[in-house]
Amino acid sequence: MSNDRTPAYTPDGLEDAFSGDALPGDGAAPAVLPRLGVAGWLRWAWRQLTSMRVALLLLMLLAVAAVPGSMFPQRPQSPADVAQYLLDHPASGPWLDRLGFFDVYTSAWFSAIYLLLFVSLVGCILPRAKVHLRALRARPPRTPRRFDRFPARGSAESSASPEDVVRAAERVLRGRGPLPMFRTEAREEAPGVWSVSAERGYLRETGNLVFHLALVGLLVSVATGQMLHFRGQVLLGEGRTFVNAQTDYDTFESGIAFQPESLDPFRLTLDRFTSRFDPVTLQSRDFLAEVTLDEPGAEPEATTIKVNHPLTAGGAKVYLQGNGYAPQVVVRDAAGEVAFAGAVPFLPQDEVYTSQGVIKVPDVSGGQEQIGLVGSLLPTAQQLTETIWRSVDPQPADPVLVLSVWSGDLGLDTGIPQNVYQLDDTGMEQAVDAQGDPVTLHLRPGETVELPDGLGTLAFEGVSRFVALDLRYDPALPFLLVFALLGIAGLCTSLFVPRRRVWVRAAVDDADPVRTVVTAGALARSDDVGLQDELDRVLGALPGPSRADPSSTSSPDSSSHGSAPRPPAPAEEAQR
């Protein structure tokens, strides 16, 4: 298992040709089996956890564990679907529920996988950072004696002295920019023998570390945001004003560290809402909410909220999440007193805005029964048969209100919270006609009808609009963005910056003392198609009348893309 029980611990993933000065395959570590104490076992467990093998396993586990979340309904997204699933599957449902399949992403097993993964990541990254810091300060490794096992090699001849050749190579390698491309070191190895060793691409590992640390930053930011966030929904009719206080929200949820006092008490008024639909397909094309924002210490400001263009107010963002129609009605009781007057939001059910709602009239004058009106609003009504109506257009061209009438006790005084959009009919009785069929009222704007059983009258005055707003505050968002961008930058650097080592040696030819023989080799971390080209470029730029001879060879992996025709390669073992 652990072949890495070498004296110096190398972090996993670094054990390639590049990690040491030696070439791959030079000396396998002897298998030593030390006695393991408790500390030894702990160290063993830690090394296992931080090994690449376990990281791989955890990554695959994470991928698999994420899948059930899109196969089963999830409580945070659709609690109603979960309840339905439990009803449909009485045998397996409760077990799935116990195992967390209806809330996968906060379940113990999913959390365990990603937390272990992050521990593994940190445990792997920190030692690598240490190694990298050392490498950043280190000098390029000394020139090896022989180049014949390197993936990229070259040779040339020159009439310049070995030192001049090496100095020229050093200049080419360092490049002309303000920052050197290669870090170089030239030395005289022996009288008449000079060499330069060069290394580039320190950014590759830097990018790798930045990417992984950015992932940790993302996780911490998400967690912080979860603790400090709040989110609330509110339904706001035209002309109505909403105050940013917890009590004014229809629904409100917040993280454990959220302080309700920290809510900025801005006021938001919906002045007008307009929508546009495609006349043929009836698909929505544009929604526009014109609002007035009144922040403390500032002049009221007229602004807009659109889909994709949320409004920022008091540090929170206000999203336009929905809209619908609210019929404006006036209900007079049997005594002729106004028992209810106002706009009641009806919730749209489909793309032609067939909307459903309830008008609850509890405040009738003394002794009479309370009234509940249940039914639909059809924005553009079309009558199919005597009793069947439908809406054919989402725009309110010909709105019709279709209602059934209930009377009795609305149950509002029991103290149990009620759904505003549903009628609790336990204490109610539906009005019927002489044949015993339920009474259905059809009204167009401006019409007034008598309610059955002498309950009073109902006037339909017109239709106004309402919007569903979603307010969200998450202070971690800028951090998330920064870490995400850092991550992408790190990823690009770690994948696309080549890490290369180049060595050039120049020696006086034994046979002809005015000739200098130049040999060179290069090594790269992982596959690098540009390695041979880089070496050829360096050799091509060396001084002297004799140009670089093209008898360079390269490994199979770079051969397929080399442009120059390749001379037959000597028997060369593939470096796998």
Binding site: M60, A63, Y105, V222, G487, L491, L495, S560
Partner: protein
């Protein structure tokens, strides 16, 4: 004829051209196989039924076979691929003009642009070295995708609902399509790598007897990767070179995919008021991202590089394709924009 109809016509034309290119690539592949088997030493002896195969690797399988046989088929393949790509580009541009927006709003358009990307990457990869197998795989997938797009995913060119009305429609969706196209070619390279590796090491599941269904195995025996049907594998680059090619493309694809993921989060924050909500599409994208991340790690892990790393590419590509097809057609996600 409206501009939208013109676009559809172009796409049909492109599908036709790519089909011809696909056939030409197949012919070129067959011709290469023929050349390879003629050039090579005699095939290893046929193994009798139930006999354990000897891993008789043909040492003559060299990498430096002629890269392009210069036959008519390969010329036609290249030319029609290019023509198909240009027609598709024209179709996509016309589609964008007809709808008055960037043509990346529904499955039909996504498929068109994805196929264009794959074809473009194919043309780029094959500009120097003609590898018919990669062409066969990429064009096979492309023609199939275009047919499904035209026959199943097609919707009238139209403007979009408010949630899609954003410049992110170009950035997020465009980059996701690019990534899908790049992953497609990388997948073909990885598949070829595994086949070549199997042939070099004499690995075939069709050589060992199957316990239950040995009859089926014998029926499939002629399709074993070590047999003459795959003789053309001699002329493809070494597994290592293919692995390197696959990795380069996958690395680009992974960066694009990461960008699509981050861009999607930013857009979701603008449009839906949350940056991450485990919507089915988000889950699928996440799963594919994690699998490709695992692939990148596997490559640098001792004992997991090479052939095993290629298996990760298969899983990752499967996740990408499932994320596009299955997830889009399940109606209850926020990303259900197929318009079907």
């Amino acid at each position: 004829m409206t501009v939208g109809d013109l676009s559809t016509l172009f796409v049909w034309g492109s599908a036709t051209a790519l089909t011809i290119a696909f056939l030409a690539y197949t012919l070129a592949l067959g011709r290469q196989a023929e050349l390879a088997s003629r050039a090579a030493a005699p095939e290893p002896a046929q193994v009798g039924a139930g006999g354990s195969s000897v891993a008789l690797d043909v040492p003559a399988e060299a990498d430096d076979m002629p890269t392009s046989d210069g036959s008519k088929a390969s010329g036609i393949a290249r030319a029609t691929t290019l023509l198909g790509g240009l027609l598709l580009l024209a179709g996509i541009v016309a589609r964008g003009v007809a709808a008055g927006r960037s043509p990346t709003a529904n499955m039909y358009e996504f498929t068109l642009v994805g196929v264009l990307t794959a074809v473009a990457v194919l043309v780029f990869v094959e500009r120097k070295r003609f590898i018919p197998f990669v062409g066969v795989i990429v064009l096979g997938i492309s023609v199939l995708a275009l047919a499904v797009a035209l026959l199943v995913f097609f919707v009238r060119a139209d403007s979009v609902q408010p949630a899609l009305d954003s410049y992110w429609l170009v950035l997020h969706v465009g980059v996701a399509i690019l990534a899908t196209g790049v992953f497609t070619v990388a997948f073909a390279a990885a598949l070829l790598q595994v086949l070549k590796d199997s042939r070099e090491t004499g690995r075939s599941h069709l050589e060992q007897p199957w316990r239950r269904a040995d009859g089926l195995r014998r029926a499939l025996h002629r399709w074993r990767v070590t047999g003459p049907a795959f003789a053309w594998l001699r002329s493809v680059p070494s597994p290592r070179a293919l692995e390197a090619q696959s990795f380069r493309l996958n690395a680009i694809g992974f960066v694009l995919w990461t960008f699509a993921l981050v861009g999607g989060s930013i857009w979701a924050e603008h449009a839906w008021g949350r940056y991450w909500g485990w919507d089915p599409k988000e889950v699928g994208t996440f799963v594919a991202w994690v699998v490709y991340a695992a692939y990148l790690h596997a490559r640098t892990t001792r004992g997991w590089s090479g052939r095993r790393a290629a298996y990760f590419v298969f899983w990752g590509y499967a996740a990408v394709i499932a994320n596009f097809t299955v997830v889009n057609l399940i109606p209850n996600g926020l990303h259900s924009y197929s318009g079907l």
